[in-house]
Symmetry: C2
Subunit: 548 residues, 2 copies
């Protein structure tokens, strides 16, 4: 063929991919059918069981040259199936209890496709129309769940604020990190806001703001279990990572109120500006919830912006049986909740809520061609610009599950976690490290003989044994992951009972509604089997420790 | 039924939505089939033609109380169809040429569903596995497209850096705003980096950084046509909106290099720190590309971080026929490109590229349970935390279309824009305001009689007539949008030929490959018809102007 004819043929093919739907018998359509009809089966069939080392997987993704010529969709679909899907993670598997991802409701699959087909852009009304009021309604509902309990006239309140161009009850964003940055951005711009001739930190910058207010330091207070995104926020917002002041936690991984009160007093005496106090609900590693009421009291007393990072635990508010665990959250100035965590929505649905509908005044921005003043464009109050219509998925979930449906899911997760905790406690060879307050718990494998032995040991010997146990925990976790049947994650904690020494533990997140008691039993059994094999040399090791 | 039995029934239903796929005859399945088989037809059938006022649409989204009880998926699907889809925007319609959204390739619909089904989280290997090397490969390909042209041994370079745990060639993110913030964050942390005892702005904060470096101000330089996200970035990063120093543009909406050079000199004399110089490629309103080579020269001369915001125009690099328009971009320290704009990927696929693979060292962060040092977790170099696997969609597009396919699309868009510009110029009743450099152009309706009349007028009369024309442009744009057949957007510009007075113009973006010449003709005809109806009073108006 001549170059011209090749070009014409290519152009026709290009035109086809924009206009002709996938053939029902095409590779991609068959993949889609499998996904639609039996997602778990599809993933089990196509994700290979035994893990390849990353360096091996990378070999399939080495070419840095962009392909010159178009390729058939079917070839690419095939390639994705064998190179990508085969080596991805079955995040929705009921026996993968180490992530914050879960099985998702089936109806979200077709709805996601509808979302992509509509391809709305939520930055402005012009490209989103009904999606804008829908998003405002979802934010309104979440706001009411968090803040509405003690308000007398909720209907009037939300009628006034929910769709108001000049107010904002919150924002959707890509995830908890952007939600936390947004909340702290507002906190910073409020604490260092306009004052007399000074036009505010947003306009004049942090250097002039600090000079105007006479501060040498501005800090954020959070427990030592706060999420790393807070320190990232401090960097981005210009206050500096070292000015995240971390307060020690008690043995339940909750912020120590006595030390917090002391720290606030000290900082005030040193004329340090306190930008925000952050409560965690719950922590990523142990699911612990800070004492929010006591924190709210301190924040109120000292007039500090109180933010609650409930990226993980926020969904607990939907259960009437559990929401008291988050008591005090209704006094937070801002709250982060990820719908893609315990609200069973796919990745990419973060939310931040503001108690005061005027809170975003300090970050409001406009542009000539969009976000005109007085418009209802959501983009004038968000950190992000163009954004997809993820709120539709949250809306559908809220309606299809209802509050009671979510309540059942949340309660079930916590029940499951309590059951697993009991299982661990009743087992002579395992040690529960943190009790589940929500559905996260940590534990480790310590055979009975070693426990008995440790009881006889002195401090130094304990350190040596703990080091060995840390290696063992890492080994079991890795081996179990690689065998591909189940997955728990691991982290490092410093429990009081080990004199604050860092120990490595298994961490499980029990939010998948399809995780059964049998699966939990199997996971412990599998760990025990792996341990036994590698722990054959136990007597020799103990002897060695004793002889040292 | 007793409460207990209701609860049991609800629990069973809940379990079903997680385990039983949608029935093929369900409302949602039927919607999905329509979307799959004929997206354009589905949208035309279900989006109502005549626009409802927003206040009317809002009435469907007023309830702030979360529903207590679960509802049937089919009812919610039906509700979404009638309330939401019906009042959304047909962003992919070939006659909607006012947005930066376009028709998308069909294969992205099933692929998006696969992405949601896999629900990977790109923050870390543990929850993404092969998606991590895939994303690194896509970033590598884009990096090579932008920076590889002049490098001698690309294969060796990318073999070394693309999958390196200690390097980053760029990052995926939710969109251009986050990409721009990331680039400027890196610029700030580099300019105010560690130095002797000073641990860097990221760690110690902006106040101490300014004192350490002896600056009173740190600024970002950009043309007055720069995107509003830059000013938002300046706010977030703590340098302050007023320290975005905007440089005037010439009549082609490009930054004036003479004035830029002067400004840099003045700022240096005043001991102002210059954090970054931002080139625009192209501007949101007119698609104009700054003189990147001359800007790169200045940045190099003064050792300034050079960022190019190519969120819109970056895809032009894929056309060998057009990429010279972006010459100089290969000298940028960082580049923003949105795949959800001219790369035909759904909303939510922003990218930022770094020339220096070490650039992200200044923003690197770690945490105990993830992003461990030395790991290949992408989250240690990104602003966002948890993120979906959008890179799979970009990967598939790059492969299915190939560079040549993209070239055809890009060239076609620019051809279309040139054709439309000619059409406008040949028409006595329209006035082309900005020529398309990429596929964006602006124009307005000015009937021949008014043009002739204006030629006879003095400055003051011209102002009055321009005000009337501005009203007319707004009126036509609104009426056309409301009638639902086609859509152009509008913005305000200050062209030299109108003595720098602000005029309102139509703005069109011709990136949809399905937009035909006939559609473009129809759009002008429709505007002419709307104008004629409202412009009946023309003689009287002109008389009034003359008599003033």
């Amino acid at each position: 063929m001549s170059d011209k004819r090749i070009a014409a043929a290519t152009e026709e093919n290009l035109y086809r991919i924009f206009t002709i739907p996938e053939d029902p018998d095409s590779t991609l359509s068959l993949i889609e059918q499998e996904v639609s009809q039996n997602l778990d089966g599809f993933l089990r069939d196509h994700i290979v069981a035994v893990e390849k080392p990353l360096s091996e997987i990378e070999k399939d993704f080495l070419d840095s040259a962009m392909p010159e010529n178009p390729q058939f969709v079917s070839d690419i679909a095939d390639e994705l199936l064998h190179k990508l899907v085969a080596q991805s993670v079955h995040t929705s598997s009921p026996s993968f209890i180490g992530h914050m991802t879960s099985a998702l409701p089936y109806f979200l699959l077709p709805l996601s496709k509808l979302m992509v087909g509509l391809n709305q852009n939520l930055v402005k009304i012009e490209t989103s129309k009904a999606f804008t009021p829908l998003e405002r309604q979802v934010i309104g509902m979440m706001h009411r769940i968090a803040y509405g309990e003690t308000r007398e006239n909720n209907d009037g309140y939300y009628e006034h604020y929910m769709h108001s161009a000049n107010h904002s009850l919150g924002a959707f964003c890509s995830g908890g990190t952007v939600a936390n940055i947004t909340a702290l951005w507002i906190a910073r711009n409020t604490v260092l806001g306009p004052d007399g001739d000074f036009k505010g930190v947003g306009k004049e910058g942090l250097f002039r703001a600090m000079k105007h207010y006479g501060y040498e330091r501005v800090v954020v207070l959070v427990s030592e279990r706060g999420h790393y995104s807070l320190s990232k926020s401090a960097d981005i917002l210009g206050i500096g990572r070292q000015d995240i002041v971390t307060v020690p936690t008690d043995d339940d991984n909750k912020i120590r109120i006595d030390l917090l009160a002391e720290t606030i007093k000290e900082l005030k005496q040193q004329n340090v500006g306190i930008m925000a106090l952050v409560g965690v609900a719950g922590t990523t590693e142990t699911g612990s919830i800070d004492p929010l009421v006591a924190m709210a009291d301190l924040a109120e007393l000292h007039n500090i912006h109180f933010h609650v990072d409930a990226a993980w635990g926020g969904a607990t508010l939907l259960s009437a049986n559990q929401r008291s665990k988050l008591a005090g959250i209704e006094r937070a100035d801002s709250i982060t909740i990820d719908a893609h965590k315990q609200m069973y929505v796919p990745m990419g649905a973060g939310m931040v809520l503001f108690k005061d509908p005027h809170a975003t005044d300090v970050i409001e921005h406009h542009a000539e061609y969009i976000l005109r003043k007085g418009s209802k464009d959501l983009g004038s109050h968000t950190l992000e610009g163009s954004r997809p219509g993820m709120s539709m998925l949250v809306y559908a979930c809220l309606k299809v599950m209802g509050r009671k449906g979510y309540e059942m899911l949340i309660d079930r997760s916590i029940d499951n976690a309590n059951y697993f905790a009991e299982l661990i406690q009743q087992d002579d060879d395992f040690e529960l490290i943190t009790h589940p307050e929500l559905c996260i718990l940590t534990y480790r494998y310590v055979p009975k003989a070693v426990q008995d032995f440790m009881a006889m040991c002195g401090k130094e010997e304990k350190v040596i044994i703990n080091d060995l146990l840390n290696d063992l925990t890492r080994f079991i976790q890795k081996k179990q992951r690689e065998s591909g049947k189940s997955f728990v994650s691991r982290t490092r904690l410093t429990p009081k009972r080990y004199d604050g020494k860092t120990i490595t533990v298994f961490r499980t997140v029990l939010a998948n509604p399809l995780t059964t008691k049998e699966i939990l039993k199997d996971i412990l059994d599998e760990q025990r089997e792996i341990a036994k094999e590698s722990w054959r040399s136990l007597p020799a090791i103990l002897k060695k420790v004793l002889s040292q």
